[in-house]
Symmetry: C2
Subunit: 195 residues, 2 copies
DNA sequence: TGTACATCAGTGAACGCGCGTTCACTGATGTAC
DNA sequence: TGTACATCAGTGAACGCGCGTTCACTGATGTAC
């Protein structure tokens, strides 16, 4: 049952994409290799033809998830006017859609505390994703000095991650909504975020 | 080897406190009942004399951890002047000490993404802790209307949770520091947080 | 207050189950000539 | 271009291990009289 090189490469991509959804949906520890492989339409035995450990696919899935989020935010921001970049990003990131569809949402918020204790590769992928988001938002702030823009963006992204996380922890639908709306408002109110 | 009622009650407290440290340190899924019981100086077999499931102790440990944080913040804020309440809380919460000693740190940041997928009892305990923190900070804001104070505090606590989480995810010591300092500055700059 | 019995906190072994990882096998694909 | 052989993607079973939970047992504590 050997597959062609093209098929093999496509299968690998399919596994990583399925993994990025499953990890965000159920967490890293609660997602078994069997879950990933089933989601990709395979049996678990074949996993080690493509990856050498669970840690490796965690890191790759994290990078893929982050890149997908980054692309959608970069595009939304590019479509809008430059001044409203942060508002556009906040409205996209802090939506009920992001909150209620963890499989397609931000890996930093869906997996944050697990990643903090995770392997070096996963933390590195997560940090890279974070910094790319920061870069996009920094380019959208009206600050004159680039270090001010960066600082503002570091804060804005962290704040959004916290708000999305807490909106999912919150036991109460109204509170969850208040958190998302409140943070959107805080980030949208022009120039609001510090200094 | 039956113990007196006083001893039994003391043992139960010891187990919950040990659990609250171990869960924050290693995560919920990665902490076995054996780990909790060992940390409390017991063998794992006795666990079910005090609790009826792992879910139950997760919720109780979460509540204990949240209350401990709340007390220390409430006290620090009470010791300072009223106007600087948010700044005092931010400096305490966003310290390298909180970041580097997860066993004694904020359960929302240490366990956020796990709690979001957790059982009803744990989410409820986490939400209660969050709301108590919000209440403390809301009482410290100079806003005239109570709903504005609450909204500001909801945002501030979420933002701090996100910053502490990301400071632990970050792969790079300098970046980690920048996140903490940046958020402290953002929250400290008078009246800064929105509207 | 003392005695006899019931209770139950804690121990250590055991039970099932699920997980990450390994492996023999199959048969289609890739390669060497 | 065709043929013979080597490779290897994917399957399904198996291996160990750790985990949550259960249980028989012990002996100190609590209770009833």
């Amino acid at each position: 049952m050997r597959k062609s090189r093209r098929d093999t490469a496509a299968t690998r991509v399919r596994i990583v994409e399925a993994a990025s959804v499953e990890f965000r949906r159920n967490g890293i520890d609660r997602t078994a290799l069997n879950d990933l492989m089933s989601a990709a339409g395979l049996t678990h035995g074949g996993f080690y033809r493509h990856f050498c450990s669970k840690d490796q696919i965690v890191a790759e899935a994290c990078a893929v998830a982050a890149n997908s989020l980054i692309e959608s935010i970069a595009q939304a921001v590019a479509d809008g006017s430059k001044v409203d970049g942060l508002a556009i990003a906040a409205n996209l990131y802090l939506s009920t859609d992001q909150r209620d569809n963890p499989g397609g949402s931000c890996p930093l918020a869906m997996l944050g505390s697990e990643l903090a204790r995770g392997g070096e590769a996963a933390r590195s992928a997560a940090t890279d994703g974070y910094l790319k988001l920061v870069e996009i938002l920094a380019a959208q702030t009206p600050e004159s000095r680039p270090e001010d823009a960066r600082r503002k963006a570091l804060v804005a992204v962290s704040a959004m991650v916290g708000a999305l996380t807490m909106s999912r922890v919150a036991n109460d639908a109204q509170l969850s909504e208040e958190i998302l709306m409140g943070m959107k408002q805080a980030l949208t109110a022009a120039g609001l975020l510090l200094q």
